[in-house]
């Protein structure tokens, strides 16, 4: 393995007096499923927001696939190949499942406003291709039957899958999933795990935040642990599980 796909170093993010990220660095290799765990408030979602351009870090370095993404706007980050889902689902609730995925392809399509209005042949062909690709993605995540339903009418698990399909529509190299299994029952979680493995096998690297430690241990190639904005451990799941600092962060220290 040569250079990592994503590499951040010395990332700091402060909100007023709160030091949400304190000198965080990590590197993710292409083809990995990389997990990020930590107690509530440890800074996991903040790190996600920094990695997807929603927050601008105060200091640090951020390289992805040959691009310098330090303090770049979200759509630049998306264009260079990082897509994400949200902890609290943020679909376009009043659009159909198919349309949600079609919007996701915006970043990869050419024809602009003029084409949309005058509908010359190339714009039409592109529109047809967008629709076809959207259908394929819905099929891929396993909700093809629901393509004409409004996003808000989908079940919770299907909404999560739709968010993944929409993120995949941007043709990412790295897919960042923020607690995708939250609120799922065990069989839905098992289905999600299979989906994530399939996505990885198809060449998309995955960065995953999750509370379900059992899921993480069985799925991730490497795991980083955040606590109070600092990375306290990193490594293979079985190493991380036994790390005393991790146990302390999750369970506290036994009183003397």
């Amino acid at each position: 393995m040569s250079t990592p796909l994503l590499e951040i170093q010395g990332i700091h993010k402060r909100f007023g007096g709160l030091h949400a990220l304190n000198d965080v660095g990590l590197s993710i290799n292409a083809g990995e499923i990389y997990g990020l765990i930590g107690p509530n408030g440890a800074g996991k979602t903040t790190l996600f927001n920094v990695l997807t351009g929603l927050y601008q870090p105060d200091e640090g370095r951020f390289h992805f696939d040959g691009h310098d993404l330090f303090r770049k706007k979200p759509f630049v980050v998306v264009r260079s190949g990082i897509a994400r889902t949200f902890q609290n689902i943020r679909l376009f609730a009043n659009m159909t499942a198919l349309e949600n995925v079609m919007v996701g392809q915006h970043v990869r399509t050419r024809s602009g406003v003029i084409g949309a209005i005058f509908r010359h042949p190339r714009a039409r062909a592109e529109e047809a291709a967008i629709k076809q690709r959207a259908r394929e993605l819905l099929e891929y995540v396993g909700i093809a039957r629901r393509h004409d339903d409004l996003a808000r009418n989908l079940s919770y698990g299907d909404q999560r899958r739709l968010e993944i399909a929409r993120a995949l529509a941007t043709r990412p190299k790295l897919l960042a999933l923020d607690e995708p299994a939250a609120g799922m029952n065990p069989s839905e979680t098992e289905g999600l795990k299979k989906l994530m493995q399939k996505i990885r096998d198809d060449g998309v690297t995955i960065l995953l935040i999750e509370h379900d430690v059992k899921l993480m241990m069985g799925l991730c190639d490497r795991i980083a642990v955040l606590d109070y904005g600092k990375k306290i451990a990193e490594g293979r799941p079985e190493q991380v599980k036994c790390d005393p600092r991790v146990i302390e962060a999750y369970l506290g220290v036994a009183p003397e």
Binding site: E99, V103, A169
Partner: protein
């Protein structure tokens, strides 16, 4: 009976004009939760530019049939209004995108006044008659009168609305507009250029407004610098009646308001025993506005505001 049919026809025609203007209000509101009070002035400027353009062609001695002259005027007015709408958003609203909601609202009212005064400087304070270039032949429709112009207004209005719905529901730009209205941040994350979408919303709404302005001027045979105020308020009422932010609601609200106003004013004299005449027709719009705000603030087809998050 023929009064009823007559007022019904008048109501449908005025209503379809209100609907066109109301669409401009509701599109902008849907995307950025802003009431663009300058929209009425865009309508007015569309009317004024058309009249000026037709008069200019007549002065130059251009021999063309009336409808073609009107078309020439319209083709001049539409780009002027589009450019105006684009500029207004760019100069006045964009810098206030992240400001508290009251700031752009006050700016909108200020802009409306500025544009009125500007129009008065250019075109004077008097009523400008609409050039008499159109056929005045009146058709008999079950005892009621209807002109070619009125038929044309009705058909054109619905063609334009159909075109808009196609644009919003079936094209990439429309999809980007709907995505932006539901969640601008996530739409931006998907690569939608929010600034372009907002600009296009203003441009499209202004084009519809310009056409509506010409319809008003042709239908009432006159235009003046203050006309945008009343027509704007009525169209705003129509948008609120239908549920602001909802496109179909704007159309329904516009037609309904036109009918209420027209039928109401037709029978106002009888209803009040001659105390109030049809010149009080404007009260209907405001009675409707007040009633909607009290009894159903979300409008007929509006969603509960709490659903936006």
């Amino acid at each position: 009976m023929d009064i009823f049919i007559q007022q019904l026809i008048n109501g449908l025609i005025v209503g379809s004009i209100y609907a066109l203007i109301a669409l401009g209000y509701t599109m902008v509101y849907g995307i950025m939760q802003l009431i663009n009070f300058a929209h009425g002035e865009i309508v007015m400027i569309g009317a004024m530019v058309t009249i000026t353009c037709i008069n200019l062609l007549l002065d130059l001695g251009v021999q063309l049939p009336g409808p073609l002259l009107l078309l020439a005027g319209l083709l001049m007015a539409i780009p002027v209004s589009m450019l105006l709408g684009f500029t207004i958003e760019r100069v006045a609203y964009r810098p206030l995108r992240r400001a508290p909601r009251l700031a752009p609202l006050i700016t909108a009212i200020g802009l409306s006044i500025v544009l009125q005064q500007l129009a008065m400087l250019i075109w004077g304070r008097n009523y400008r008659p609409f050039p008499s270039i159109l056929p005045t032949k009146v058709h008999d429709f079950y005892g009621a009168a209807i002109t070619d112009l009125q038929i044309a207004i009705f058909i054109l209005a619905f063609l334009l609305m159909g075109g808009l719905f196609f644009l919003i529901e079936r094209t990439k730009l429309g999809r980007a507009m709907r995505a932006t209205s539901q969640n601008p941040d996530v739409a931006g994350l998907m690569g939608v250029n929010i600034n372009t979408v907002i600009s296009m919303t203003f441009v499209i709404g202004s084009a519809l407004g310009a056409v509506a302005g010409v319809m008003v001027a042709a239908n009432y045979d006159q235009a003046h610098a203050y006309m945008g105020f009343m027509i704007g308020l009525k169209a705003f009422t129509a948008a609120v009646l239908g549920g602001i932010g909802n496109l179909a609601g704007a159309v329904v609200g516009g037609i309904l308001l036109g009918l209420i106003e027209s039928l109401g004013s037709g029978y106002l004299g009888d209803l009040t025993g001659g105390f109030l005449g049809s010149n009080y027709k404007d009260i209907f719009a405001f009675v409707v506005l007040i009633a909607v705000l009290i009894f159903r603030p979300s409008g007929l087809m509006g969603e509960r505001v709490a659903e936006r998050a």
